[in-house]
């Protein structure tokens, strides 16, 4: 199985680092972005099997990035610390693959990433 590229976009360093460690530990190739604009750039330039992105970030937020990426976007798993119903609905409408409310169990994330890459393949 060839390594799948995963983009992790989160402005929180701790979250970004732990996610990278977890995903790399599971055999994924991980690229990181520290804000929305960088994430949008990276998605446009690279070919990611899945994107794990925080909703609230400096610059463009996760939902905006998802909307501006253009078709066909990679599966995007959005994360939020706000669990705001309106925000979650908006994320689903922007065709997010899944929305995770922080903190979430790590196996749940890994499962979603796996199914997203499977779906993309």
């Amino acid at each position: 199985m060839s390594a799948v590229d995963v983009l992790v976009a989160d402005d929180e360093l701790g979250m970004r680092e732990t996610l990278i460690d977890i995903l790399e530990g599971s055999g994924y190739v991980v690229t990181e972005a520290a804000d929305g604009d960088a994430a949008l750039d990276a998605i446009r330039r690279g070919h990611y099997g899945v994107v794990v992105m925080d909703i609230r970030m400096p610059g463009r937020d996760g939902v905006t990035v998802l909307r501006e990426v253009g078709a066909p976007p990679p599966p995007v798993i959005l994360m939020t610390a706000y669990a705001n119903q309106a925000q979650i609905r908006e994320a689903h409408r922007a065709n997010a693959f899944a929305v995770l409310s922080k903190p979430f169990p790590v196996p749940q994330l890994l499962g979603l990433v796996a199914s997203a890459t499977g779906a993309a393949a």
């Binding site: 979250m15 732990t18 996610l19 530990g25 903190p103 169990p105």
Partner: protein, 546 residues
Amino acid sequence: MADDRAEGRGASRRDGASRWLPAAVLGVLVVVAFGVFLTVRRAVDDQNGRILRERTGEIGLLLKSAVGEIPATMSALGVASRLGAAPDQAFLHEARQQTAIARTESIALVRRSGSRLTVAAVAGLPTIAPGDVLTGARAAAVQRALTSGQVVSTRVLGSGQTRVIGFALGPPATAPGTAIYLQSPIDPAAAAQGQVAQQRPFDELSVALYATPRADPSQLVLATAKTTPLHGQVARQEIAVGGRKWLLAAGARQPLVGTFANDVPWVILAVGLVIALVSSGVMVVFQRRRDYALALVDVRTAELERSMSDLSETQARLVFQERLAAIGQVAAAVGHELRNPLGVLTNTLYLIRSGLADDEQARLGRHLDRADREIGVAVVIVESLLEFARARDPLDEPVDVADLVEESLSVAPPPDGVDVVQIGLDGIEPIHADHQQLRQVLLNLLTNSYQAMSGEGVVTIQAKRRASALELRVSDTGTGMDEDTANHVFDAFFTRKAKGIGLGLAVTKRIVEAHGGTIAAESTLGVGTTFVISIPLERVAVEVRS
């Protein structure tokens, strides 16, 4: 509207004493008026009586002098009867002169022979004839005259139109054994036309003269009044006439003090009564106005107090809402900000656990488990903070209470040693409410009950359908609460537990109230606590505090 209320309250405000005051004043003033009236009238009567007595005295003097002419006339006749060789002729001569003036009189010369009194000669009206023998009252009067030497009068004799009075005079004015007898008809009305009765005091008085000391109608000699005996205030005086006592009675024709002076008491009485009525009336009017004003003050004060309390209530509610909103904002911010580090911690624990060798896993695993559990507790706290901060309008969906309870018990199963008893849940019609929010309510109450019982006891969930609401009672057999705790149990951030931040019951209350319902805690220390929730069957519009 305000006037009606004022009337009603005025009556209740009035005390007994002031209510009777006008009547008391009226009574006192009437009594005073009557007192003054009586006093003045007595003074006027006294004055009238005094003047009447004076006038009567004057009349008495006039009458005395008039009656005094009789002895003088008779003495002259007596002198004539003793004159010369033919005393009878001299007597007749003199007597005829007298009867020429007093045409109604009869004058006789009477001689005593033995015990008989025989008329010797007569002048004037022939009511007596020479040779007549006097009998009865006439004889008695003549006999007395013969011995006394004084003028003696009879009482009034006869009756009706033929009443007469006689006067007799004996020696020494006459010759021994002879007496003069003068008889005059009595006509009281005619006497009133006489010269004496035309003089001044008579015109002011009604006068009656009796030939006895009593007011005997048969002895009436003179009367200027239309009717006798006299009525009203009457002065009486005795007059000695011919050895007898006559009665003079006199009453005033008009008030002797003057008509106005006589009316003064009545004027005083009338004015007094008017003053009494007017002053008590004025008092009543002022009292009514005062009562009305006081009642109005009451009404206005009550209104003011009500608006003040409304205002302070509103203010308190605003302050409370503001504070709650501020708490909500803080809670939301803290909750959200904690989620990231908690997420990082979760991830980190996962990394540590996956990096451990098997032997290390056995050694450190329980510490990692504890860290996981504490993160879970932190997440629950964050959830309750966010739940508290989130004020969502309840949805309007059919909620089956039995399902709701079952679902809540599956999410929060009773710990070992705790039994759950359900009463009256089956067959209750679905109510219109927010399923998820009501589940939150039940979860909070169940969790609360479990924690109150420290491991052992019974939780009773009882549902009762009321007229327009569903009543849910969640009781535990736990430690119960003291009054102070029960009073604050729904306050945000109030807790007596070692764990928890005191938002569960605050959120519960807010949800219930957002449904238009009520929640109350009934607790007895050492016995247990019952939470009573009442949710309207139909949703009602509720202003949600945000």
